[in-house]
């Protein structure tokens, strides 16, 4: 069972905050891998919120191929953070050449495009680069998106963080999501590492998604090129989130109704019964059944946590105005925000979605039996 930690803070924080929280929860993860997602960045990236940032791992030759490819498209490097690592990695961590975080300037031809078109093209570009990398095994591309950075590696989270010297002043973010891996159902692959990211939506999950194959088949047949990958059964949670919010136009309140619809008798009593019934029927393929705790981040910089219908995975939210954290264990929360009012810690149950909005002032609890906000 993996361990999850996410924090949202008014002041930019070092990713070490999250890694340290994972470290206190180390009994729950086996140190086989770590994934970090940073958004609402501080430091030098603060000044370039609109610039797409590419994060990934490259070999020397892969980097050359990347440069040639991007230059060809007209992308100019605006800022880069190259993590050169010592020759000998710590035990359990593979040897790599370069970890790259690079902000680009859009090509001139893209100026004509709308924001939506640009972002859609970025998805295409990321997938193209990923494909190129898989072909020659010289690049691993995690994200290409404005104001977002992803770092994933095999090995113990703390060792990886020290190895990559993540405690550097250029790398700070107001939203950090981190996952420490405990075993995996599928082959160990960096693309299978949480958190997952698609068009501004990111999630990470603790548990196993038993409905993976039908959900994967369903999403893959939606005709959107971003619904691909699926090295992990948890990647579909990000894509369902994307589908619910982007394609169906629901708010985060709708997500839970898609993945864990209400039982029939509760549905009958719901003020939006007719809508939810239609949703339950038409989104039947996306119902999750496994024990899962999903923590995610939305495009408006809010963080949320939901539980599966049976609530077999723990999860807790707590903090103080300005800083809130989501953790799969209370000790993780204690490590990150020790001075919070612990009586206000909240453990979402099977009907709840806990949301901390971009103002980071409170934890909003949305119960599935509450009326839905009007559709937009």
């Amino acid at each position: 069972m993996c361990r999850l930690f996410a924090i949202t803070s008014k002041e930019p924080l070092s990713p070490m905050v999250a890694v340290e929280a994972l470290d206190v929860m180390r009994e729950g993860h086996d140190g086989s891998g770590v994934g970090l997602f940073l958004r609402d960045l501080g430091g030098p990236f603060e000044e370039m919120k609109d610039a797409p940032i590419l994060s990934g791992i490259f070999t020397e030759s892969g980097l050359k191929r990347l440069d040639a490819f991007m230059m060809n498209l007209g992308f100019m490097t605006k800022y880069k953070l190259t993590i050169k690592v010592p020759k000998a990695p710590p035990p359990g961590v593979p040897k790599r050449d370069i970890y790259l975080i690079r902000a680009y300037e859009y090509p001139e031809e893209w100026d004509e495009m709308t924001e939506t078109e640009k972002l859609r093209k970025l998805v295409h570009l990321r997938l193209t680069l990923r494909g190129m990398g898989e072909e020659k095994e010289d690049m691993i591309v995690f994200s290409l998106w404005p104001d977002a950075v992803m770092i994933k590696e095999i090995g113990d989270p703390m060792r990886v963080a020290n190895h990559l010297k993540l405690d550097r002043k250029e790398l700070k973010a107001r939203i950090i999501m981190a996952q420490g891996r405990q075993n995996t159902n599928y082959a160990i692959n960096l693309y299978a590492c949480h958190p997952f990211f698609l068009e501004g939506f990111s999630t990470m999950t603790n548990g196993e998604n038993t409905a993976f194959v039908p959900i994967k088949e369903y999403l893959s047949s939606r005709g959107f090129e971003g619904y691909t990958g699926y090295q992990s059964d948890s990647e579909v949670f990000t894509h369902i989130l994307h589908y619910t919010l982007k394609n169906l136009g629901f708010g985060i309140e709708g997500y839970k109704h898609v993945i864990t619809p209400l039982a029939d008798e509760d549905l009958e009593a719901h003020p939006n019964a007719a809508l939810l019934k239609a949703l339950k029927h038409s989104c039947r393929r996306m119902i999750i059944d496994g024990p899962n705790c999903v923590i995610g981040s939305l495009t408006d910089h809010s963080l949320f946590m939901v539980q599966d219908r049976k609530k077999l995975r723990p999860g807790v939210v707590g903090g103080k105005p300005g800083t809130f954290a989501f953790s799969s264990e209370i000790c993780g929360l204690d490590a990150a925000i020790p001075d919070r009012d612990k009586t206000k810690d909240f453990q979402p149950m099977y009907l709840d979605t806990a949301i901390v909005g971009p103002d980071r002032q409170e934890v909003r609890i949305c119960r599935q039996t509450d009326p839905l906000p009007p559709l937009h």
């Binding site: 194959v213 864990t260 059944d289 496994g290 049976k310």
Partner: protein, 544 residues
């Protein structure tokens, strides 16, 4: 037996028959129950004349000879009266002195059962015990990252959808714009399949309906039953129980006059309307209710004369093509109930099933597709149809499901599968295998007859006379002397019993796979089979 008895080419001896009656003279009390109960009159009371010889061993002594008679059981060898092995004789025998035994070699009767040039027609079974569904195992049992659920305690919602499901975007658009949303029923994924009205005895029918009503009203299980061709009793049509019934319309349109006349007086809508285009065990044949069963009541409900055989044409004869048939019939059935009742076609599994499915995907009214595999039982099918026609259900359902996946419509047209579900008694495992191969639900008929009414048939060609109205248990007979043997109350109780048993078993399968609130439709990663070719064909795992 006369010494000059005519031995013709088709003279058979007892040994040539598939079943031989073993009768023990010593134990028999000559009560006559066995001959009275035999549905095909294969045995009769016989008077036997026996010669005895008294030979004196003394040279001078005199030997004598004489005759004695005794009474017993004689088995007929006329093909028309051949024993069917039903075993009713042993069921009624007070002294256990009689029972049919299966011949130790292939019978010769099969060459002579076509008297008058009529090949044998039989009901029900292919006489082939092999079942691919029985070979499939559920291999994805969550042990560590996802502890198996407790089948007895966790919340379960075992429901499936019958009806056209709109894609999410479309569904929301219709919701916002107050558009017409196709009717959808949430039902239990095991449906009692179509068995023609008139084929089943009144007691069997009543028992099934009572069982279904109890399951729905008292136990809250939304079980549905299909009428089969032949209509529906007028009282049921006008009762609140109609909502548990799927009305079938087939190419003979039998009973539809009655149904249409009842529409204005219906208190509730039927669950759905099934348009039958084909039957799994006799694809290309229409249904056939043989004249033995067309009594006054059945004739009245079906709207036909008494005592005539009622064949349905193989397809709906007024339609030019399947596209037209499906489109027009579905639409007219929708209109009949004000677009409130789902309508779906039933076809035989065949290599052209995909064509029908592809056609349905473009018909916004089609509510589903029921595919009946070669193991689907049916009364009055020719031997050659039963034995050699048809397509196995597993591969056909899988092809259709994967085709929907490619089209991105796997949520939209539910596929129901029938034919061989529970053939060897493994109802829940077979149903779960079909669901994980891509079916939204399954239908079963033969299992119901066997479990709820004690049908004596077996895959060893036992009984198999469902078609001629002589069912020894009174399940498929319109003869009161036979169907009085069946108590509807007991049938109802057995229906409830086996549904509850099925429900427990299906949970025992779903729970360890980690599924409880949504059916694992298409969860093919959970399936394994011990044959490489089958695994490749079904796109599931090969396990040994």
């Amino acid at each position: 037996m006369p010494s000059n008895r005519p031995v013709t080419p088709s003279t058979l001896s007892v040994k040539d028959l598939p079943w031989q009656i073993s009768w023990q003279k010593d134990k028999c009390s000559l009560c006559g129950s066995c001959t009275a109960v035999c549905p095909v009159n294969a045995i009769e009371l016989g008077v036997f004349r026996k010669r005895y010889i008294h030979a004196d061993i003394k040279p001078a002594g005199s030997s004598s000879t004489g005759y004695d008679i005794f009474y017993g059981i004689r088995q007929k060898t006329d093909p028309a009266y051949a024993c069917i092995g039903c075993g009713m004789c042993s069921m009624v025998c007070p002294n256990d002195c009689i029972m049919p035994l299966k011949s130790d070699e292939a019978d010769k009767l099969r060459f002579h059962i076509d008297r008058g040039g009529q090949p044998r027609r039989r009901g029900g079974r292919r006489n082939n015990g092999a079942s691919l569904l029985d070979r499939i195992k559920f291999i994805r049992i969550s042990m560590l990252t996802d502890p198996a659920l407790d089948a007895g305690r966790h919340e379960f919602e075992i429901r499936t959808l019958l009806g056209r499901v709109l894609p999410p975007e479309e569904s929301l658009r219709h919701f916002k714009e107050n558009g017409w949303v196709p009717p959808i029923r949430e039902i239990y994924p095991l449906i009692i399949g179509a068995m023609s009205f008139g084929a089943l005895s009144p007691n069997m029918w009543e028992g099934l309906q009572m069982g279904v009503a109890y399951l729905n009203e008292t136990l809250g299980m939304p079980v549905r039953i299909c009428t089969g061709e032949g209509g529906c009793p007028p009282r049921l049509l006008r009762s609140r129980f109609l909502k548990y019934v799927i009305l079938q319309i087939a190419s003979g349109y039998f009973g539809w006059d009655e149904i249409i006349h009842a529409i204005p007086e219906m208190k509730v809508d039927p669950c759905a309307v099934e348009i039958k285009y084909g039957q799994g065990a006799k694809p290309g044949d229409g249904g056939l209710l043989m004249w033995y069963k067309v009594n006054k009541l059945i004739a009245a409900i079906r709207g036909v004369p008494e005592g005539v055989s009622l064949p349905s044409p193989p397809t709906h004869q007024t339609k030019y093509s399947i596209e037209e048939a499906v489109a027009k019939m579905i639409q007219s059935m929708y209109m009949a109930w004000g677009f409130r009742v789902p309508v779906y076609p039933k076809i035989s599994a065949s290599s052209t099933a995909l064509a029908v499915l592809n056609n349905l995907t473009r018909n916004p009214y089609a509510s589903g597709l029921l595919i009946d595999g070669e193991d689907g039982g049916t009364g009055a099918a020719y031997n050659v149809s039963m034995n050699h026609m048809g397509y196995p259900i597993a591969g056909n359902v899988r092809d259709c499901y994967l085709n929907l996946v490619r089209l991105g419509k796997q949520n939209e047209i539910p596929i129901f599968a029938g034919g061989g579900v529970g053939k060897n008694g493994n109802l829940a495992a077979n149903a779960a295998a079909l669901i994980m191969l891509g079916a939204s639900g399954v239908v079963t008929g033969k299992y119901v007859m066997q479990a709820a009414a004690g049908c004596l048939g077996s895959e060893g060609d036992r009984c198999n006379i469902c078609n001629i109205g002589l069912c020894p248990k009174g399940i498929t007979s319109q003869d009161p002397r036979l169907y009085r043997r069946l108590d509807p109350e007991q049938v109802a109780q057995r229906v409830v019993d086996f549904y509850l048993g099925f429900d427990t078993e299906i949970r025992k399968i779903f729970a360890p796979l980690g599924r409880s609130t949504s059916l694992p439709i298409g969860m093919s990663d959970a399936l394994g089979v011990d044959d490489r070719d089958i695994a490749d064909r079904l796109q599931i795992q090969y396990v040994v």
